[in-house]
């Protein structure tokens, strides 16, 4: 385990140094990521400005939802590039080389790249979250801060798990199934707002099939002091971790029955 972590750190430090070889490109791409998500938040602000509230939810409250899910996604987006580009790797036959090395394939893929420019989206979302935290006023306790952090980590695990599943499907299809983007990008868009605003079938989908509600909606209820089921909000972020572990099990199953394309 310890050696695995050391190897991972070594992988990503190489990747980071590589990306820093093109500083101008890095800075421009980072700014653009910051602007893109900044633009989305500008849209949310404009809507709340015009409509006053969203079914009783205020801007600082919506900003909490926004901050949690956007930070979570930026973390997963920065660390999952190896799985994201996996279908192409499979097609080239490069995955065979990964299998030859005496380390787990998941570790090697995760270590492929740490996408540095995601710091743009991350810092924009962090700024929104901090603003929300101060605008919400005196609701904070150490336990609630911990719950925010746990939700972010749970969310990052959930999105990472989805990308692992997408990569796993490529064992059978050798194509990247773009359709999974529907639940990753769609999930991010969805979780920017409290789940109560959506239609019932849609809420059920993002609670029972993709456990998105557990990493943002339920914890946020407890943080904002809204009526919530007892204990559930405090353990809900674990659902993200469980989802990732499940996804990795399915991944291992895929690796075991993998048969090279021979190219």
């Amino acid at each position: 385990m310890r050696e695995g972590i050391r190897l991972y750190l070594r992988y990503i430090s190489i990747s980071a140094r590589g990306q820093m070889q093109y500083p101008a490109s890095f800075i421009l791409l980072t700014i653009s990521g910051l602007l893109a998500t900044g633009g989305e938040f500008l849209g949310i602000w404009a809507l709340l400005h015009r409509f006053g509230s969203l079914k009783g939810w205020t801007l600082p409250e919506v900003a909490l939802f926004y901050g949690i899910v956007q930070i979570a996604f930026s973390i997963s987006d920065a660390t999952s590039r190896g799985f994201d580009a996996f279908a192409a790797m499979l097609k080239r036959g490069d995955f065979d080389r990964v299998l030859l090395r005496p380390r787990s394939s998941a570790l090697q893929l995760a270590g492929q790249e740490l996408t540095m420019r995601r710091i743009g989206r991350f810092s924009q979302a962090l700024a929104v979250l901090l603003w929300s935290a101060s605008a919400l006023g005196a609701i904070w306790s150490p336990a609630k801060v911990g719950l925010v952090v746990a939700s972010i980590l749970g969310g990052a695990c959930l999105f990472f798990g989805l990308i692992v599943l997408q990569a796993t499907l490529a064992f059978w299809t050798t194509e990247s199934l773009e359709i999974v983007n529907t639940v990753t990008y769609g999930g991010v868009e969805t979780a920017q707002f409290p789940l109560t605003i959506y239609r019932p079938w849609f809420r059920r989908f993002f609670t029972a099939v993709i456990p998105l509600a557990f990493i943002s909606y339920f914890p946020a209820l407890a943080i904002l002091g809204r009526p919530a089921p007892p204990v559930l909000p405090w353990i809900a972020p674990l659902a993200g971790l469980l989802f990732l572990l499940l996804a990795l099990r399915i991944w291992q199953f895929g690796v075991r029955q993998y048969c090279s394309t021979g190219s």
Binding site: L28, L29, G33, G38, G39, L42, R50, F51, G52, R199
Partner: protein, 264 residues
């Protein structure tokens, strides 16, 4: 003119090869549009005050945006030109007995129009039958929409050709394009319909070129802007298009003067 048409049709046929990507993109966009619509429904149910757009108009606006944004947002860089500049084969482009600006402009027209046709037609069917997209408000609105869409395509290509030309100076152009794309996204109406921005922002939004890409056609379609009021908007699209074409030609003339072709 015939040769530019040949460029358009060749690129068109090439891009139509990628049907699987189009199907996946289509499903993603339908789902996305559905999420957006639910969000707007919730906002409209939160207030009784009258708004500058009705909810059905917003629904039309969302679907039109989803159906045509590939065509009208100058978000995608021509990757082949990027490769040409990086590898140096861009000098071959100078050897062709064609006007380079017109050549790149036609490439851009083709690479936008082809995927849009693939996406827009099924989306009109699916969204029109099941998901709340209405037909154009009137025959005149429909005609005005088509005209505005053509204007949007030209405007978008004029902007994107400038981006291609900018690659002659900086091959970090990818970042520049994305910055422009991000700004263009919010200012064109794809994030939220422009009339829903605060009233004090409307003057600026109306002057900037980006509304011509998406906001103008969508509002003419739904009757939010009546065909009789549309004339100044066509003029707005055209004026910006001409300005960007002029700028693009100027930059290209300067850029090619600096270009040095090394040996054989």
């Amino acid at each position: 003119m015939r040769s530019y048409w040949a460029v358009v049709s060749a690129r068109f046929r090439m891009l139509l090869q990628y049907r699987a990507a189009a199907v996946a993109g289509f499903g993603t966009q339908l789902f996305w549009g559905l999420i957006r619509i639910m969000i707007f429904e919730a906002f409209y149910r939160s207030t009784t005050a009258s708004q500058p757009m009705t909810l059905p108009e917003v629904v039309d606006y969302i679907w039109l945006g989803q159906a045509t944004f590939v065509m009208t947002l100058p978000y995608y860089l021509d990757l082949e030109i990027l490769t040409m500049v990086r590898s140096g084969t861009v000098v071959y482009e100078l050897l062709r007995p064609l006007d380079l600006y017109s050549l790149w402009f036609s490439r851009s027209v083709a690479s936008r129009a082809a995927p849009t046709l693939l996406r827009a037609l099924p989306m009109f069917v699916a969204a029109g039958l099941f998901l709340g997209l209405r037909p154009p408000a009137s025959v005149a609105s429909g005609a005005g929409w088509l005209l505005a869409l053509l204007g949007a395509l030209m405007l978008s290509c004029a902007i994107s050709t400038i981006l291609s030309v900018s690659l002659l100076w900086t091959i970090a152009g990818e970042g520049l394009v994305q910055i422009l794309g991000s700004a263009g996204m919010i200012l064109s109406g794809i994030v939220i319909p422009l009339p829903l921005f605060p009233d004090w922002a409307q003057t600026a939004l109306n002057i900037l070129p980006f509304r011509g890409l998406l906001d103008t056609p969508a509002r003419i379609y739904s009757g939010n802007i009546l065909p009789g009021e549309a004339l100044p908007l066509f003029a707005h699209q055209m004026a910006w298009t001409l300005a960007f074409v002029a700028l693009g030609r100027l930059l290209l003339a300067r850029g090619t003067r600096r270009l040095v072709a090394q040996g054989g």
